[in-house]
């Protein structure tokens, strides 16, 4: 079974600064996806960024980028130029992409990191 670990229950950053959220995972699979989801106070689950394991290039979405280290099973999220609207709970998540799991692509989440933005 796959596990996802987020070792930072809470993080804070000054507005306009950069912050990095950590995530490690454990799997025996070679083909998978990794995601970062944002959950603001509204509790909506919002996809921030995703990474395909077979791609060496780190994914980037505007101010959000990841540092994907497949050998180390590490997947950190960097938020640049932090804004007040970035305040939320951030979840790292894993999804299998193995053909044997076709139709069974559930997400396994980490325990989350609560990010606070300091004005």
């Amino acid at each position: 079974a796959q596990t996802v670990t987020q070792s930072q229950p809470e993080m804070s950053v000054q507005e306009a600064e950069t912050v990095t959220l950590s995530c490690t995972y454990d799997t025996s699979e070679s083909d998978y996806y990794l995601f970062w989801y944002k959950q603001p106070p509204s509790r909506q689950m919002i996809l921030v960024i995703r990474q395909e394991a077979y791609k060496q290039q780190n994914a980037t979405e505007n101010r959000f980028s990841v540092n994907f280290q497949k050998a180390a099973k590490s997947f950190s999220l960097k938020i640049s130029d932090s804004q007040l609207g970035d305040a939320a709970m951030y979840f790292c998540a894993y999804r299998s992409a193995e053909e044997s799991n076709f139709g069974n692509e559930k997400l396994t989440f980490g325990t989350g990191t609560r990010l606070t933005i300091i004005p």
Partner: protein
């Protein structure tokens, strides 16, 4: 663009009652997932359906059952409710191409009193 619709958004039930949560996936999405998120916890996978058949099962209590109908909407039925069932229940849907991430609904907040 159409999103995943969940109803109701909020539900209050008494212990031992029954609740039914509904999920309407994005059009042309044939896979539906249900997750339970307790207070201060991460979402936990309950059950999923592909083409109206159960495709995977997680830590879903025997008191819960679910199905996917011919129009691809899904219902989660919860009986003999307990206080510990109070949680946010998410539905997510995805197409079966395997390359598209699941899209989440806004969730149903169930409170058992």
């Amino acid at each position: 663009a159409a999103g995943v619709i969940q109803s109701p958004r909020h539900l209050i039930k008494e212990k031992r009652e029954t609740a039914t949560l509904k999920c309407y996936p994005i059009p042309r999405h044939d896979t539906v997932y249900w997750y339970q998120q307790g207070p201060g916890q991460d979402p936990q996978f309950l059950i999923s359906f592909y083409e109206k058949m159960q495709s995977d099962k997680g830590s879903i209590p025997d008191r819960f059952s679910a199905q996917q109908f011919s129009d691809y909407h899904s219902e989660l039925n919860m009986s003999s409710l307990e206080l510990g069932d109070s949680a946010l229940y998410f539905c997510a849907s995805s197409p079966i191409d395997g390359n598209t991430e699941a899209f989440f609904g806004q969730g149903t907040r169930l409170t058992v009193v």
